[in-house]
């Protein structure tokens, strides 16, 4: 059963065609890593999945429901806002730059959306928040403000914040790119824990994570999927020349 399905997704920024027909499906509990050189469109594609960017053509289905599909003229038509809002809540998003709310404490960051969007009562929201803070190893940091935490801790808070909305899918857009190398491990560990609990995940730009954790790896270049398959096949035995070149460069650098 596909939980997420994208078909022939096209996206232009002005005249620059960033996505040139991307199709992919995600099964429940599957962990997918999207890798590729910068400018390949992988982040844009991830952002299209929950409509941070609008697509020009193609369709996106979440749990069997269309968020967007082609109209009769071949251009993408989005569902009504109410349905989209409901569908988007099934997807948690973690950003490269954390995007915590700096004027709110860690606990307030976690409780805000459950309180405002789900109208959860305060006690329940606090319980959930504390549970997820513990899960990411920050049970003591509820009263802190984001600026008081390291980057790794901030990103773990961001993951906990997304989890508080009880999503079915977690999207990670280059979750460790803004971190000092010694801080990436703690974030990847939290992500691995999630994968072990069968959270459905789509992650960009994490070669190490792709190799160790992902069920499937997608290699993108110039707005197209060049190669995809089991993590080992794609990373250890790539078939396409471009995949080989890319992996050669990144793995050498490691």
């Amino acid at each position: 059963m596909y939980i997420l399905k994208a078909t022939d997704v096209h996206k232009k920024f002005h005249h620059n065609e960033v996505l040139r027909g991307i199709s992919m499906q995600v099964e429940k509990g599957e962990v997918i890593a999207i890798i590729g050189p910068s400018g390949s469109g992988k982040s844009t594609f991830l952002r299209c999945l929950n409509r941070l960017e609008r697509i020009d053509r193609g369709s996106i289905e979440i749990e069997g429901e269309y968020m967007v599909k082609n109209g009769p003229d071949g251009k993408a038509v989005y569902s009504n806002e109410k349905d989209i809002a409901r569908m988007r809540l099934k997807m948690g998003m973690v950003f490269q730059s954390f995007n915590l709310f700096p004027h709110k404490s860690v606990l307030e960051n976690l409780m805000m959306a459950p309180l405002l969007v789900n109208k959860t009562d305060t006690r329940k929201a606090r319980e959930t928040a504390m549970m997820y803070l513990e899960k990411v190893g920050l049970a003591q940091n509820g009263p802190n403000y984001p600026f008081e935490l390291s980057g790794g801790m901030q990103q773990r808070v961001a993951i906990a914040r997304a989890l508080c909305m009880n999503p079915d899918i977690m999207c990670f857009d280059e979750p460790t790119s803004a971190l000092d190398p010694e801080l990436t491990g703690e974030v990847l560990q939290v992500m691995k824990d999630l994968a072990n609990e069968h959270m459905t995940m789509v992650v960009t730009h994490e070669i190490g994570f792709a190799r160790e954790v992902a069920d499937r790896v997608i290699f993108m270049d110039e707005g197209l999927i060049v190669e995809e398959g089991h993590a080992e096949d794609v990373i250890i035995h790539p078939r396409q020349v471009r995949t080989k070149e890319f992996l050669g460069k990144v793995l050498m650098a490691r």
Binding site: M91, N99, F101, P102, H103, M112, A113, V117
Partner: protein, 213 residues
């Protein structure tokens, strides 16, 4: 000394007028500026266009001219407004334009990621604005707002032009009557006291917002 204390009752009366104009303007323009800034940032073309035009007109002409226009100019076409309401109207119109631009720069300085984070968490536009964007905007605009507020207290002296007896006009009348410069010095001291209070207020506000970065 006796001379100064003989001046004080008049000077205080003038100060009351000054402060009345100051506070009434302030409580109107602080929120109005926010709405104007939001209108200025609106993607709805007519609203956006109107605000740009409005800001151009009210920042692009002298406040004194606006004051004269509203009091005397409108009078010539049959719209008569009393001195004080006319002054208040001119100040509100003018300062809303200035504050709108300050707020706009504050809103635009907020990282796009804040909007996106609120968006993916399901917050609607109003919640995003009132819970995420405006609270952070206020911290950033406090220094430029304090500038505007200090300008405002000094600009109140312009209403002498339509015959309102605020602090500076009272001082001028006394100075001319007694052929002495002392009343101006007293007025300067009064202004300095008022601006000092404003400065301290903003210092306190900035400290209150210093709990996060």
């Amino acid at each position: 000394m006796d001379y100064i204390s003989s001046l004080l009752p008049f000077m205080l009366e003038g100060t009351v007028i000054t402060l009345k104009l100051f506070f009434l303007t302030l409580i109107m323009v602080l929120p109005l500026g926010v709405f104007m800034a939001l209108a200025r940032l609106s993607k709805f073309k007519p609203l956006n266009g109107f605000t740009q035009f409005y800001i151009w007109v009210f920042r692009g002409t002298p406040l004194l001219l606006q004051l004269l226009f509203i009091y005397f100019g409108l009078g010539t076409i049959g719209i008569n407004i009393d001195r004080f309401p006319a002054a208040l109207l001119a100040f509100i119109l003018n300062y809303t334009a200035y504050l709108a631009e300050v707020y706009r720069s504050g809103i635009q300085s907020i990282d796009q990621g804040q909007f996106e984070a609120a968006d993916v968490l399901g917050l609607n536009r109003w919640q995003t604005l009132t819970r995420i964007i405006l609270p952070q905007m206020i911290k950033r605009v406090l220094p430029p707002i304090s500038n505007e507020v200090i300008n405002l207290i000094k600009d109140t002296s312009l209403v002498y032009a339509i015959g309102i007896s605020e602090l500076l006009r009272v001082a001028k009348i006394a100075a001319v009557r007694d052929a002495i410069f002392v009343p101006f010095i007293v007025a300067a001291v009064f202004y300095l006291i008022m601006t000092a209070v404003i400065q301290q207020t903003f210092k306190w506000l900035e400290n209150r917002y210093a709990y996060y970065r």
